[in-house]
Symmetry: C2
Subunit: 303 residues, 2 copies
């Protein structure tokens, strides 16, 4: 079986003169849209599948982590069960299925997702339950992106933030490489729990799952392990409106030929609203993934 | 001034498990969508701008070559004039303008494009007139992509074909590196002059500019220099229907997270219609560029 570094695709660094000119800042995009399964989550999932001794892994995810874990388990020769809401888009269910995972569809009106996971965990005592962010193997897997970014000598790095798995991993990688780059988070304004957590000095939770267009950041709160890293490793978190996220998706399409999902555009959205902070700096924007339904993408492009 | 190899962005090789599974062939995409100015044309334009002794360069292009030459001339400190039809999309005119080129808008109902170029050439006797494909510097610039592809050991390479600038360059690069890969062309069925030329053993022309959705391949005929290379270097040319081109754009979006312009999707379209020829082979599909109007892209995604 391949090592983590053999298995992942190095991030794709993209520079666009048009985008730089438009924003007025020396930007480089670290795009994870071409990572296996279409998002950075494969780094986390592969590391987890390759590292835990269990032959069976269980997770709850309607999005990128489910796909990534399913594929990682296929490569690792392990069984994988993904709990998904019955209402998940068919395209997402099919993607997980195509990697050979078992799908457990749950009617979230009757049974909560966490409740269902608890039921399954009881039935599968040998299985490892994988959180998409609050897990040491996840953070360690994502830290490889921090290593790659460190090699480029940026003044600042902006990462999307949801549960905190990606940014805590990047922080770990930057630290390990003694990078001088300052690390910032970009979070949907509609679900600004990380922003509020950093202000309060402790984890603050959203009351309900925030209905932002950035569906990869619809988390209730940061994970505990993530928070321990974020509270000292992240300098500031920018709250980005859904309108700005959509504008960023359109700019990446038109000026950089890059298809990103809304969550992946958070970082460009953040810099559009905070240009003055980055004048004269060399900035890396992490585009976390590219998986978005064509119809949603069409609506965003229509402006 | 940078050398050609310093100035260009190496092509971005993309492999997608989902796409491979869908097509049933071991595919790799060589994507030029992130090349400077968004298409392979920058390779040609930079080589030309850096190589000719003239301080002024003139071309006629409403598309990718205009943008690429404008940017290359900006980098080379040369003057650039681009003749474009008055009816060109505003977005394309602005792109050329943004690189500092002079734009000469021509009312093609009154004055033909070639006529206008002849007028200008007479007024600017010091200027070098650059064909977008039928030019030795153009072919040499594009040959760098052939060099890069050679390093990967493919059994077959499929390239889009319009005027023949790209495929003749790739052929030159593959030859120079003694690559064993077989080279194929992918051309819009609506403008199948290259297919007919290869059959006839001489250049055959379309009667009018073919109105295919692959606007980068709306050429009347192959160039002379290109034909000399293509007639012996290209094994076969596939004619691809506009419907298949659109399907390929959608598949690249959904399965590979790749935004391509219709001309860039010709190669996937070709393989979708000729799978049996490539069973068990390792195939490289060249995606020549990514510049497409959002509205056209939206229409294609709608299916």
């Amino acid at each position: 079986m391949k090592t983590l570094l053999e298995a992942i695709r190095p991030t794709t660094f993209i520079e666009s003169e048009k985008l730089k000119t438009h924003v007025g800042i020396d930007l480089t995009i670290a795009s994870e849209t071409f990572q296996h399964t279409g998002s950075f989550k494969f780094r986390a999932a592969y590391n987890l599948a390759a590292s835990v001794p269990n032959d069976e892994i269980l997770t709850a995810s309607s999005g990128n982590f489910g796909q990534a874990l399913a594929y990682a388990c296929l490569l690792a020769g392990k069984k994988c069960t993904v709990v998904m809401p019955e209402t998940s888009a068919r395209i997402k269910i099919d993607a997980v299925k195509s990697y050979g995972a078992t799908i457990d569809l749950v009617d979230t009106k009757v049974t909560g997702r966490n409740e269902r996971v608890a039921q399954l965990a009881e039935r599968m005592p040998e299985a490892y339950f994988a959180s998409a962010y609050d897990d040491p193997f996840v953070i360690e897997g994502n830290s490889t992106l921090g290593d790659e970014i460190s090699a480029k000598d940026f003044d600042a790095v902006i990462s999307p933030i949801g549960g905190g798995g990606l940014i805590s991993g990047i922080s770990k990688g930057l630290c390990r490489q003694s990078s001088q780059a300052r690390l910032f988070g970009a979070e949907p304004l509609l679900g600004n729990d990380a922003f509020r957590s950093l202000q309060a000095g402790k984890i603050v939770r959203n009351e309900t799952e925030p209905m932002t267009i950035a569906d990869g950041a619809r988390t209730i709160s940061l994970g505990n392990l993530n928070w321990e890293i974020i509270k000292s490793g992240v300098e500031r978190i920018f709250e980005v409106s859904d309108e700005k996220i959509k504008e960023a998706v359109r700019l990446l399409f038109s000026l950089a030929n890059l298809k990103v999902e809304p969550t992946g555009a958070l970082t460009l959205g953040a810099i559009l609203e905070n240009k003055e902070l980055f004048a004269g700096k060399k900035v890396c924007l992490v585009a976390s993934g590219g998986n978005v339904d064509p119809e949603i993408y069409r609506q965003i492009l229509a402006g």
